[in-house]
Symmetry: C2
Subunit: 168 residues, 2 copies
């Protein structure tokens, strides 16, 4: 690990007006690091999601995965992983677990026996319908601290950054 022995022993704080804090702790330029702030926001959203409303019987990640399979019956496992940013190794285990729970069925297509095509079972469909409002209905709690207009813009920028496309 390269070390610069000539560096001063006291950290020179970056030149900026006043202070920038998180939970009373000075973070300076870290507040301008997109990765850092996104991580804090994601952890906060996760925390708020679980602290409000009726509990889900499965994790939010599992719900999202089932939801996406429901929206795309027959979707290939690799394609699902690409869309949801879940690596193949984990997706394999996630799908196996949800298959064991009876929510998902796997079909190996005749035209490509390497692949796995996924669909929801009736039980899986029922589950995501049953908990739809539980999952989607926490906007007020999730968006604490932002006005409705700000939340709208926030989601628009998040979607744009994420590469979510919408078309009529």
């Amino acid at each position: 690990m390269p070390q610069d022995a000539t560096a001063p022993t006291v950290l020179e704080r970056p030149v900026q007006a006043g202070s920038t804090q998180l939970s009373g702790v000075e973070i300076g330029d870290l507040s301008g690091s997109l990765g850092f702030v996104l991580r804090i926001c994601q952890l906060l959203a996760f925390d708020r999601f679980y602290r409000s409303g009726e509990p889900l019987p499965i994790s939010a990640g599992e719900y999202s995965t089932l939801w996406t399979i429901g929206m795309n019956p027959g979707i290939r496992q690799g394609q699902l992983g690409t869309a949801l940013f879940i690596k193949p190794a984990h997706m394999t285990k996630l799908i196996r677990r949800m298959e064991d729970q009876g929510f998902v069925q796997r079909v190996v297509p005749e035209d490509d026996r390497r692949a796995v095509c996924l669909s929801l079972t009736p039980v899986g469909e029922a589950l995501i319908q049953r908990f739809r409002d539980t999952f989607f209905g926490r906007r007020a709690a999730e968006a604490e601290g932002l006005s409705p207009k700000e939340l709208e813009e926030f989601l628009r920028l998040l979607r744009k950054y994420a590469g979510v496309t919408t078309r009529a």
Copy 2:
């Protein structure tokens, strides 16, 4: 796990104009779930960060932690964890590892021998100075897909949501 046997076996897609997709996969209302979109953005930012520029000799998380200690010499370990959303169990191991690497020193204050106060060593200071531009200088790559104005607004909303406070 509650199941509604009367639910239809085909997922009724939500009523919305057109389609909403991610990587060519239909996600529908998932694009309105703050936690979900934040997770996607965080993974994307992380991916872009590592794919661009000179590699860091430590992880981004370790750099952020060292940076924050540098901005707050003598900070209590618990307070650091609260600010960075890192649980005590993990912070203990993280700090131990960075102490072993020579970047951090731990001092148990006389007035509260339960606590641990953290500061950077000269080696730690040198490290975060040495890689400052490597860590902070990837705005262009990180913010791919957003205009400068949008990035500014994006960061403003992220900071607001995260509870970052700024004062003169």
